[in-house]
Symmetry: C4
Subunit: 275 residues, 4 copies
C-alpha cells in the first residue's frame, strides 16, 4: 500500500497550456438529482465546475433546475426524463457521473448510461447508482474507464464483502475481477485499481462526515478526469486526496466542514499545487 501525499496533486495538476479553450478542459455530464435528493446533484455539478471542467451539464429532475441555476449559472441543465436530449448530452461527454441523488427507482437511467457510453469516455458511478448496479448484477463494457466511489455499505453491496470484513486484500481481489477503479470511502479511504498497489489516505477529518460529501467528491473526480489526461487512477487519487486535504485544512478552524465550503476552496487550492 502506498500512502498518498501532496505529491499526488503536483503530479496531476499541470500548468494549463496558454493556447487552450473551454473544450480543452473537457465536458462533464452529471446524471442524478431526483425530486428528493436534488442537492446531491447540485453539489456534484458545482464541484465539477470549480474543479475546472470546461463545460458541465447536469441531467436531473426538472424541479432542481432553478435551484441549480440560482447557485451556479455556469452549468447547463437537462431534464433527465427527456431521453433524446440526455442521449445527445451523453454523446458529447468526456466524463459522465451517475448516481448523486439519483434514487433507487432509476435503473433505466443507469442502464441507458452504461449502454450509451463508448470506450473513449470515462464513467464515475456513485451513490444510489452503485446500489442499483450491485442489486441488478449489471456489467461494465469498459471497466478500465470506470470509477466506483462506494462508502462501506455500498462496497458491501458491490463486492459482497461485509462491513468489518473489507480487508484490503479481499477488496483488491474483488477489484481485480471487476476491472474498474474503486474509491473505497471510509475514515481510512483507499483507492484500488486492478493489479495495482493500493493507495491510502491518512488525511481527512470527522468534521467532513456530513451529507453531500460523497457527491462533492464524485464531482471533483469528474472535473479532474475531464481535464487531466494521465492514468485514471493517478487522476482519481489526486482528486480524492485534494478533497480530504481541503476538509482537513478547513477543520483547523471549523467543527463541521460543509461540502459547499470545500468546493469554494478548489480554485485556490488547485493553484497552490499546480506544477
Amino acid at each position: 500500500m502506498i500512502e498518498l501525499t501532496e505529491k499526488s496533486l503536483r503530479n496531476v495538476i499541470v500548468k494549463r497550456p496558454r493556447n487552450s479553450h473551454k473544450g480543452s478542459f473537457g465536458r462533464v455530464v452529471i446524471v442524478g438529482g431526483n425530486a428528493e435528493y436534488g442537492g446531491a446533484a447540485i453539489l456534484a455539478t458545482t464541484a465539477a465546475v470549480y474543479a475546472g471542467s470546461g463545460l458541465v451539464t447536469v441531467a436531473c429532475h426538472l424541479s432542481n433546475h432553478t435551484a441549480l441555476h440560482a447557485r451556479l449559472p455556469e452549468a447547463m441543465v437537462v431534464d433527465f426524463d427527456d431521453l433524446p436530449t440526455l442521449t445527445e448530452a451523453l454523446s458529447t461527454a468526456d466524463v459522465v457521473v451517475i448516481g448523486c441523488g439519483l434514487g433507487l427507482e432509476r435503473l433505466d437511467l443507469l442502464t441507458e448510461v452504461l449502454s450509451a457510453l463508448t470506450g473513449t469516455q470515462k464513467l464515475v458511478i456513485d451513490g444510489s447508482a452503485i446500489t442499483l448496479f450491485s442489486e441488478n448484477n449489471l456489467k461494465l463494457r469498459f471497466p478500465q474507464n470506470t470509477i466506483f466511489t462506494p462508502h462501506e455499505m455500498e462496497l458491501q453491496r458491490l463486492s459482497g464483502l461485509k462491513i468489518g470484513c473489507q480487508y484490503a486484500d479481499r477488496v483488491q481481489k474483488f477489484v481485480n475481477q471487476l476491472g474498474a477503479t474503486v474509491v473505497a470511502k471510509s475514515s481510512e479511504t483507499k483507492i484500488f485499481s486492478p493489479s495495482q498497489e493500493i493507495y491510502f489516505l491518512t488525511i481527512g477529518t470527522p468534521a467532513q462526515a456530513t451529507g453531500g460529501m460523497g457527491d462533492t467528491l464524485a464531482g471533483m473526480i469528474s472535473g479532474f478526469l475531464a481535464q487531466f489526461h494521465g492514468e485514471v487512477r493517478e487522476t482519481v487519487a489526486a482528486a480524492t486526496y485534494l478533497h480530504s486535504f481541503i476538509a482537513q485544512d478547513l477543520a483547523a478552524s471549523q467543527y463541521v466542514v460543509l461540502p459547499s465550503q470545500i468546493i469554494e476552496q478548489l480554485p485556490k487550492m488547485m493553484k497552490r499545487f499546480e506544477c
Copy 2:
C-alpha cells in the same frame, strides 16, 4: 437557578472521534414550512446542518423545495403532504423538529409525528406546533425526549400562565407535570426540566429580536441532540447558550443580527468551544 456559562458548551461539544461517518452524527427531520412561512423551515434546516447533524431532511410545502436547495444543497427535501415518504423519513430520524413555519392548519402533521415517534427518538416542538399542541390538549408519549421552545405567548398557551405571571417557580411546577424540557424564550431565557434546577441566560441581545430567530434555535437544538449524546437538558442548554452567545458576539458590531448570520458562525464557534 444556575446561570449558564461557556462551560455548558465545553461540556457538550466533544471532539469528534476519528473513526466516524455521517451516520455517527445523527439524522434530523424538520417538519414545517407551509406556503407562507417557508423561510422558517429553511432557517431551521440550515441551522441543523451547520450545527453538525450528519443528515438533515426537511418535510415542508412543495413550494419551498427550490428555495431550500438554492441556499442549502446539503439537505434533502420531502413534500409534507406525501405521507408515505414523510413516515419513512420520520422512522429513520434521531431527532424530529416540528413547528417552524408549520402554520395552525396542520394539526394532522403534529398528531402524525406524535404518534409515529418511538421512545428512542427526540422531538423538538416549536412555534405553531406549540400552539396546536396547547389548543388541542395533545399528550406526549415520551415527554422525557421532548423539548418545547415557546416564546412568552406560546408559553402562556402551553402552561396557562399569563405573560407577566410566568414566574420561575410556577413554570417549574408546570414543567414537572409536563415532564418535558422547556426552553422559555424571552429577553431572559430560561431552561426548565422536570425536577431539575433551572438554567438561565444572562447573555443575548435585543439585536437578535427579529423574525426567524426561534426557528434557528430549534434547528440548532436538533443538530446538537442528533450528535451529542449526553443528558438532553445539558445538550439543549448548550445549543441555547451558543445561539445567544453568537448573537451577542455579532451585536458588538451590528445593530441588527440576522438568523442567517448566526448560522454561518456555527462551524467556527463550535470549534472554539470544542473540548
Copy 3:
C-alpha cells in the same frame, strides 16, 4: 432649508432596550413585485429586514416567492392575489409599503391598501403606486402618516410640477396641500413635510444611479418607521441620509454601487451611528 448630517442618524438610531422582542421592532408589509418587477419587491423586503424591522411580510406575485426565500428566509410571503390573507397581513402591520415593482395594472391593490389602513399605521407610497395615485386622483385618509418617495418624473405626475420646474418653494407649497411627507429623489434629494423646513442632502453619488435603488430606500424607510417612534419626518430623513451615506462610502472603492451591497452594510452602519 436644513442640510442633513450624521446627526440625523444619531438622533434616530437609539440603543435598543434590553427588554424587548421581535414585536417591539414593528411589523412591515411590502406590497409590490408583479411577475416582471419582482426584484424590486425583493430589494425592498430585504432592506426592511436588514434595517431592523422585527417582522417583514412581502405580498407579491406568487412567481416571486421562491426567489425571495432563496435570498431571504427571514421574511414571510403572501400572494398579493389572495385578498383575505393580504387583508389580514395589512391589519397587523405597523408600516405598509406599496409600489416597489407593483406595476401600473394594480390600482385595485393601491385602493385596497388606502382603504384598509387605519390612523395608527404608516404608509410608504413608492414607484408605480405614486403614478397610480396621481393618475387616478386618489385621496389619503391619513396624510400625516403617509410618505411618498418619488423620483423627478413621479413628482411631476404627483404634483403637476414639471421636471426643471420643481423648485423647492413650489414643491413645499404642494406638500402643504398634500399633507404628507415627500422624499423628492434626485441628485440633490430633498425631504418635504407640511409646514416644516425642508431637509436636503449633499451626500450621495452617481455610482448609486442604478435600478432598484429607490426600492431599497423605500424598504429602509419602512424598517426605520417600524422600530423608531419619533417624528415621521425625522425618521424618514435618517433612513434617506443613511442610504446615501452608505452609497457614498462604498463608492470610494466602487465605480458602481448595487442596492444589494447597500443593504448588506445596514447592520454595521446602524451600529456605528447608534446613540
Copy 4:
C-alpha cells in the same frame, strides 16, 4: 495591429457626472436563456448590471426568472415568448444583446430583434445568435451599431474562414464587408472594425477557459455601451480588455476563474481605472 493596454480602460471609464440618474447610464435588454442554457443569460445580465448599466432587463424562458431573481434582484424579467412585452422592452433599450443561451431553435427572436431595432440602438450578437445569423444569411440594417462576439468556430460560420486560417488580414477583409465590429475570441483575442487598425490582447489566461465566459463578456460589453458614449470600437475594446484583465488578476491565485468571480470584481476594478 495595436496592442490593447490599460490605457484603453482609462480612456473609456470616465468619472460619472454628479447630476445624473439611472436613465443616464442606459437601458440594456438581454435576449437569451432557453430552458437548457438559462445560466448563460443570467451571467450576461449580471455582468451588464455590475458593469454599470442603469436598467437591465432579461428576456428569456420563463423557467429562468426565479433563478435570475434569486441571484440578481436588480434586473427585470420578461418572458421571451411574450412578444408584446418583449417588443416594448426592445423599443426602450439603448443596447440589446442576443444569443447568450438562446439556442438554435429561436431564429424568430433574432429576426424580431434585427427588424425591431433602430439606428440609434446598439446590438451585440453572441453565441447561438451568431450561428443563426450565419446559417440563415441574415442581414444587418445598422452594421455600424452592431458587435459580434464569436469564438473561433462561430467566426468560421460567420466569415467562412476555417479555424487555423483565420489570419488577421483575412478577417479584416471580411469585417470590412460586414461593416460591424467583431470581437474574435481566442487565446489571442482580436477586435476588428471596418477599415480600422486591429486591436489585440496579450493578456488573458487559460484559467478563464470555462463555460459562461463568453456570455459574461457580452454582458460587460453591453453595460459599457449603455453608459459610455465614445466610439463603439473603443468602448468594446475596453470591456474586452477588462474582462481578460480581471481574469488574469484572479488567476494569480486561482487555477480556475469562474465567470461569476469576474463579474463580482467589476465595480472595484472599474473604479481603479476611472479617469
